[in-house]
Amino acid sequence: MSTSRRVFLRLAATAATAAAAGSALGCAASGGARRRLAMAIDVRKCLDVHGCRACVDACHEAHNVPAIPDRAHEVKWVWKEPFERALAVREPATLPAALRGSEVLVLCNHCDNPPCTRVCPTGATWKRDDGVVAMDEHRCIGCRYCVAACPYGSRSFNFVDPRPFVAHPTSDYPTRTKGVVEKCTFCEERLAVGRLPACVDACPAGAMVFGDLDERGSEIRKLLNERYSVRRRPELGTRPQVFYVI
């Protein structure tokens, strides 16, 4: 008995060592491949092109986002909000004059700790390994838990059939139907073919920088290392991946 126990223990120890080595290797491998996609918006560069809507139009055209005039039914992926409200500025009087009363771009923050994905009962929204908070419109049952959970109002519900409100539908991307939720997807369909998000490409001021936070020397890493940036409502612990460079 004692011999076989010893053999067993030896085998167990070997197996444990192998498993540990394996997982260490696995970690190293996936650690190298893992991406942490994020966006930085240079607020001042954006303000330089006052009244510009290039990014909003590019996004909404590329994704067949309906232009519904009734604000109660409105659907949006990227839009502008008053600076003070978007970034919850406590003391607006302390803001530089250029920023006071200005508008800032807002979109899905692709949070590192997203509340929306946790409440989805069907798995129709989830966080991908590369950081994108993805949407599977096929699984959305329109319960709107995610809309309630998102503290940024980044999700829109289709209260009406959106098709009639898409002026020039492109067949490159589906529309949605009445009864599903939609939002910015960081242009996962463009990332898949090695392109940048449509808004980033469209910005005439180069105010939007997109990239991998974990990639040393990436443009976004450099920008965030050099300049001061803030995120929306950090106190909520959602860890947004959209950074506002002030």
Partner: protein, 138 residues
């Protein structure tokens, strides 16, 4: 049972009426299978025709999950041909030009109404000269 003839006649009339749709269908012209416009020069879709005819909806759902859930967009068929898994870029667009002359003709015939096109946008049918160049005029 005073009048059996009346009873039998009544029963016969009832049976005739109740089975009328069957007789009518049998007497009428045989429905003809719809004529489908197939891409010229292609011998098979991404899988054998029998499989596609019976299970194309399963393949499409597989494609959907691969693209949306796994982020994979390329599909390699059994002959090593690589296509993009997409309803509006590959099925219609690259392979079939006119959805109404392929998918719809068969779906109308079989009474199937896929909801996919409520979202997926049907690409515009190319102009007749472009179609003729591809040898497709039906």
């Amino acid at each position: 049972m005073r009048r059996p003839t009346l009873l039998v006649a009544g029963l016969a009339a009832f049976v005739a009426l109740a089975t009328w749709p069957v007789w009518h269908a049998l007497a009428g012209p045989r429905p003809t299978a719809p004529e489908l416009a197939r891409p010229v020069g292609a011998t098979e879709c991404v899988a054998p025709t029998d499989y596609m005819r019976a299970s194309h909806m399963k393949l499409l759902v597989e494609w959907r999950d691969r693209v949306v859930r796994d982020g994979v967009r390329a599909y390699t068929d059994r002959h090593g041909r690589v296509v993009t898994m997409s309803l509006s870029k590959t099925c219609i667009g690259a392979c079939h030009t006119d959805k109404t002359k392929f998918c719809d003709r068969c779906h109308d015939y079989t009474g199937v109404k896929p909801t996919c096109w409520d979202c997926h946008v049907v690409p515009p049918v190319p102009a007749p000269p472009a179609l003729a160049a591809r040898g497709e005029v039906r």
